[in-house]
């Protein structure tokens, strides 16, 4: 069923009040009909292959120390398995690394959803942001031009001469290949527990209110009251990284802020009501991507479900959708089983990983004076 965003909101409120026990009413909208397999986008194989090599190449960071894959590791569902991500040397991360599986289908990117355009922009941001890869893209272009393998691959892929614009097209082409595959939910091979979990997901537990669609997210911002990760404020390098980010984002009084304001940066609402909102994450591939939440504060899926069963955390701006659910232990276990059934095959084969060694240095161009730059 396709419903408008407005209708959807109304339905959610109805659903929430039903969950709160204020009224026993059959929701006018049945959730879950748009759950289903993720539809893989088309991609160009030669460009995706080139993007794959770029993704794994540490020479795409300012001091050539880290690649995209340093934090987005295939064996961890393209996350790093840490509560808070690492960062470019000299900085330290203040959020949990999100998975890149299905990222090409998202409506916005980063936990605060600050980019809502396309992966070209996301790639630019990740390459150039001083705490992520700190790369001057003009220097990046000249590095890539110095590697004969890239020169050949660009030509073969119809991309002409290596350029920073080309690089920002090619990495997204590779990201299009990272699509969930063979999850029991998609192949119809869920356990009984998972099937019961799906009922709860779309019904009593109300997860579907935000986690809908093939990727199980509404791509919108919500405050669920996830507690702050104290490590951000006790580790001066993490705190410094956050403060520099907050200053750049125009957060008022950023040196005295002691919480991650999240998607507040969209609108800087004067009443503070959007502080602590974050984009609903996908629920696919969760078995590979612990720990959870935007700041890695919850270590297991059982604990995540327990968190929602308690009505989420404690925050003045918490979304009214969150209310205690009254799920039994068995029901919570069923929900976990359903969540686990949303994870598919690991994307760790050579289709997804660049397995050949990537050089760390550059050959000199022969007869340099006679060659055009």
């Amino acid at each position: 069923m396709k419903i408008s965003r407005f209708q959807e909101g109304v339905a959610r409120l109805l659903c929430a009040s039903a969950l709160a026990g204020a009224a026993v009413a059959t929701p006018t909208v049945t959730w879950g009909e748009d759950l289903g397999p993720v539809v893989a986008p088309e991609f160009n194989a030669a460009k995706a292959e080139l993007g794959r090599r770029l993704f794994f190449d540490a020479r795409l960071s300012g001091d050539a120390a880290i690649s995209c894959a340093s934090c987005h590791q295939p064996e961890n569902g393209f996350t790093d398995g840490l509560p808070l991500s690492k960062a470019y040397p000299g900085s330290d991360g203040f959020r949990n690394t999100p998975t890149l599986i299905n990222t090409s289908l998202k409506a916005n990117w980063f936990h605060d959803g600050r980019l809502g355009t396309n992966l070209n922009d996301v790639t630019r941001e990740s390459l150039t942001e001083d705490y992520s890869m700190n790369m001057d893209m003009r220097l990046m272009q000249e590095r890539v031009k110095q590697d004969p393998v890239y020169v050949e691959m660009f030509e073969a892929a119809g991309m002409g001469e290596p350029s920073n614009g080309g690089i920002r097209k090619l990495i997204p082409e590779y990201l299009k290949t990272l699509i969930s595959k063979n999850a029991p939910f998609d192949t119809g091979t869920m356990s009984d527990a998972a099937t019961r979990g799906q009922e709860l997901f779309t019904g009593k537990a109300g997860c579907i209110a935000c986690h809908d669609g093939p990727r199980l997210t509404d791509d919108s911002r919500h405050n669920t009251g996830v507690p702050e990760n104290p490590e951000i404020w006790s580790n001066p390098v993490r705190h410094m990284t956050y403060a520099a980010f907050a200053s750049f984002m125009g957060v008022e009084n950023y040196m005295n802020v002691r919480r991650d304001v999240g998607a507040y940066i969209w609108d800087h609402k004067a009443d503070g009501s959007t502080i602590g909102t974050f984009i609903t994450p996908t629920l696919r591939e969760l078995t590979y991507t612990a720990p959870y939440m935007h700041n890695g504060m919850i270590g297991s899926l059982a604990e995540v479900v327990a968190f929602y069963n308690a009505g989420g955390g404690d925050d003045a701006n918490k979304d009214a959708l969150l209310q205690p659910l009254g799920l039994s232990d068995g029901e919570q276990a069923d929900l976990v089983a359903f969540l686990e059934a949303l994870s598919g095959d690991p994307l760790t084969s050579s289709d997804y990983v660049w397995e050949d060694a990537i050089p760390t240095n550059y050959p000199a161009i022969e007869n340099w004076r006679e060659q055009k730059n």
Partner: protein
């Protein structure tokens, strides 16, 4: 947060003409021909800008910051990284060290006596030490830092919070004040008591016979005074001497990357991006063909410690430099008409004997004085901020 700086085309032409105008009219020893140049003079005290007065506390803070690698992108690269006290406050390789993963593209210049210069960097792109420091800390092949991160790092170092508050009165350290403090420290790195300075101050036995013979050549037959004149031994004007292109550009992949990066980042025509194989120097700032391959005359004090020489470190000792001038300079891509022919007519073969070359080198060595050594400061640690 990385921003691409828009290249400024301002002022360089005016500065050049002012420098020339300033040279005319001063009484000075006459050279062959009718031109007069400012005489070498003993070096006095450096000028102190009225908006950045020197205090002990500011100098001490600037010294710490000069050594602090947290004023760079990945917290590995400080001012001192390319301006090493035991390498003449420069870097003893043809091209400077560069940020990790890169090599720089020009020779690192000494910080000693930079306080006197109005044109900093080889093409004069900064007009004050306060402007030079951030430019070096931020360039992708130098410090690769960003203002917001560098400034915020300082805020998480309690000792810096105290010191910045003491010196500048701010609650939190400000990055512009960091550059001011570094500039103040650099203004203490002065060598103005070389044997040549003492001689020019009337201490007639400060130079030996050979050095005096070298000085006479410098002012006369060798014509060095044409550009290396006045108290600083530089006219701060721009010339193409025909210094050959850097050899490393032909041999070193990393250097080739940086060369292309610079011509891309600094902005040239598409045709020039494809064709250039030599450093256009002042042209980057003015985009005037007359300025291709021109670099600012460097000062000469302390040069005994700062090998190798020239904007790309082509010459490894002073004798090589003198022999280069004795040959009337050299050839590069901006002397042979490939792009332009901008070589200065001031350079002509000099006909110096080996003995005269030795005399000139002896004079230059007497222009260097004692080595400036400084004990590296201890750097204060980060600490968490109090919770709110």
């Amino acid at each position: 947060m990385k921003q691409i700086n828009t290249f400024s085309l301002l002022a360089s032409g005016a500065v050049v003409s002012m420098a020339i105008a300033g040279a005319v009219g001063l009484t000075a020893p006459a050279l062959a021909g009718d031109m007069a140049y400012p005489a070498l003079e003993a070096l006095g005290q450096p000028p102190i800008p009225s908006d950045n007065q020197m205090t002990e506390a500011k100098i001490e803070l600037g010294k710490m910051l000069f050594w602090d690698p947290r004023l760079g992108g990945d917290a590995s690269t400080a001012c001192v990284t390319c301006h090493e006290p035991d390498q003449g406050w420069a870097f003893s390789d043809s091209l400077s060290r560069g940020y990790p993963g890169t090599v720089h593209w020009r020779n690192s210049q000494s910080v000693i006596n930079s306080a006197y210069l109005g044109q900093l960097f080889w093409a004069g792109s900064a007009k004050s030490l306060e402007k030079q420091a951030p430019s070096a800390a931020k360039g992708a092949v130098a410090g690769n830092g960003e203002n917001d991160v560098m400034e915020t790092r300082l805020a998480f170092i309690p000792e810096y919070r105290e010191r910045f508050n003491d010196v500048f009165g701010t609650e939190w350290p400000r990055i512009g004040d960091a550059w001011a403090a570094i500039a103040a420290f650099e203004r203490t790195l002065v060598v103005n008591d070389t044997p040549v300075d003492r001689y020019l101050n009337g201490e007639t036995d400060a130079l030996n016979e050979q050095q005096l013979a070298g000085m006479e050549l410098f002012n006369g037959k060798a014509g060095c005074i044409q550009c290396h004149n006045g108290p600083q031994a530089t006219d701060e004007n721009y010339y193409n001497l025909g210094v050959p292109p850097a050899e490393r550009w032909e041999e070193d992949g990393l250097a080739q990357i940086t060369f292309r990066y610079e011509i891309y980042a600094k902005g040239v025509t598409q045709e020039m991006y494809r064709e250039l194989k030599d450093d256009p120097g002042l042209y980057f700032r003015t985009k005037e063909a007359d300025h291709l391959g021109k670099f600012r005359t460097p000062p000469l004090r302390y040069t005994a410690y700062t090998a190798p020489y020239m904007h790309n470190g082509t010459f490894w000792d002073l004798e090589e430099v003198v022999r280069f001038y004795n040959d009337g300079g050299g050839e590069n891509d901006f002397t042979d008409g490939t792009f332009a022919s901008t070589k200065t007519p001031k350079l002509q073969p000099l006909g110096l004997t080996d003995g005269e070359i030795g005399d000139l080198v002896a004079f230059l060595e007497a222009f260097s004085g004692d080595e400036v050594t400084v004990e590296a400061p201890a750097l204060p640690p980060y600490a968490a901020l109090p919770s709110q």
